[in-house]
Symmetry: C2
Subunit: 254 residues, 2 copies
């Protein structure tokens, strides 16, 4: 299918751009990319921008022409209801592309925001799609990203609809621990989750008051604690047990 060999994450050439490197590294974590796929990614023109917290990157109803790669900070996809309540559908950390769906859908049915100050890299959708058209393996990798994203959303449904308040928070912390670990950002089971308790409530369909009580409960039970936006997982197995957490849906490592 290709004359290039299979690329190993550790054998990467120093990437021309940090953004390309982040994207390549992420895709390599779960996909077999050829060396020429990595080269292809490095030909993409990324436009790097810093955004403050609570900025709108892409509004609902908009017609995006560029995809966004998160290089730093936490971004979210969200939607407002008539009465002003806000639902955060997903949060995105370094290396993720929250709006890959822009490749094939014309209108945004939700909006894209920063929760914390973020560094973002923009690529033209057309450019990314052109790259896909020349490489089935790159297509598979990006398509797969959108499918894992959907799996995370499915699990979000289960979490919101079937777990009690404290269990929901525990489940969310379990997920974020794994996701931060997968990018090497959770040494000692400790990571910076740069969002407020209100934000967490908007993810889990809880009031910030309930989030606060749930965090206290998890702290008192010695499972996890969060202070100043730093999460510490104290007892990993106990937290997972409490949350009925099964990491299959993250489809990590193959």
């Amino acid at each position: 299918m290709s004359e290039g060999g299979v690329a190993e994450a550790d054998a990467l050439q120093p990437p021309r751009s940090e953004a390309a490197g982040l994207l390549a590294r992420r895709l390599l974590a779960s996909n077999r990319l050829e060396a020429r796929d990595v080269a292809l990614i490095e030909t993409l023109a990324f436009d790097v921008q810093d955004h403050p917290a609570r900025a709108t990157i892409l509004a609902e109803g908009g017609r995006p022409t560029r995809c966004v790669l998160v290089m730093r900070g936490v971004a979210s996809r969200q939607q407002l209801t008539r009465d002003g309540a806000q639902q955060i559908h997903s949060v995105h950390i370094v290396g993720e592309v929250p709006d890959l769906l822009s490749l094939h859908l014309k209108r945004m049915d939700h909006s894209l925001h920063t929760l914390s100050p973020c560094r973002l890299a923009f690529v033209r959708c057309a450019e990314l799609w052109d790259a896909c058209k020349t490489s089935p393996s790159l297509t598979a990798a990006l398509w797969r990203e959108t499918l894992v994203d959907a799996a995370i959303q499915r699990t979000s449904i289960l979490r919101i609809s079937r777990l009690a308040a404290a269990e929901r928070v525990a489940h969310f912390l379990c997920e974020m621990l794994l996701r931060f670990e997968s990018v090497g950002a959770a040494p000692d089971r400790r990571f910076v989750l740069d969002m407020t308790q209100q934000d967490i409530g908007d993810v889990l369909a809880l009031s910030f008051v309930s989030v606060n009580r749930a965090l206290r409960e998890l702290r008192e039970r010695g499972l996890a604690s969060m202070e100043r936006r730093v999460v510490t997982i104290l007892e990993r197995a106990g937290l997972a047990e409490c949350a009925q957490f099964d990491p299959t849906y993250l489809h990590m490592g193959e």
Copy 2:
């Protein structure tokens, strides 16, 4: 990119198999497929099977090798919790492929069931993916299907987390009306939704008792009624208003 012209739904040759015809027709509703894409779909080997209601098509944790096209009936993707509660993530009607994700994910993180008696067509994942590799436009169409599916799930999150019981039911009925209409199966705003009130509750994270009360409320308000699994939308605008329904997320018609 191709020597063939753009295919029109109405100008289709009589398909060799009903399954291929259903799939082609569905994809053509929102995508520009070339004539050769339709031909490509018709070369796929579909294995048609009838299944009774409440059958497991694909179990959680399984490693699927075939994708499923629904030809008749209602299928669902669902997950169980430790305490036996069941969450239905999505329901699928004629023409839909509930498990396109099998193309790129190795393990099922949820299960696939029939809610009503179903006629299903199975295609080998590898065969479908090979077809994709020869046609960017077919790839785009199928990829898009998975993205719309994800959008529907996102909206499910919003529906469950932010709407009251009766509004949830109203929203679900609005969605199903549009989806049935898009395949010509809802004349006079009336369609067969072959699932029990318990099933609807499992979709909307409500007890069957609450679903029943919600249906009564919608009936008394003259918005919609459901009897013997036949749904009649009495006042479309009023129902949509009650549900805060915005069909953008279905991404119908391009």
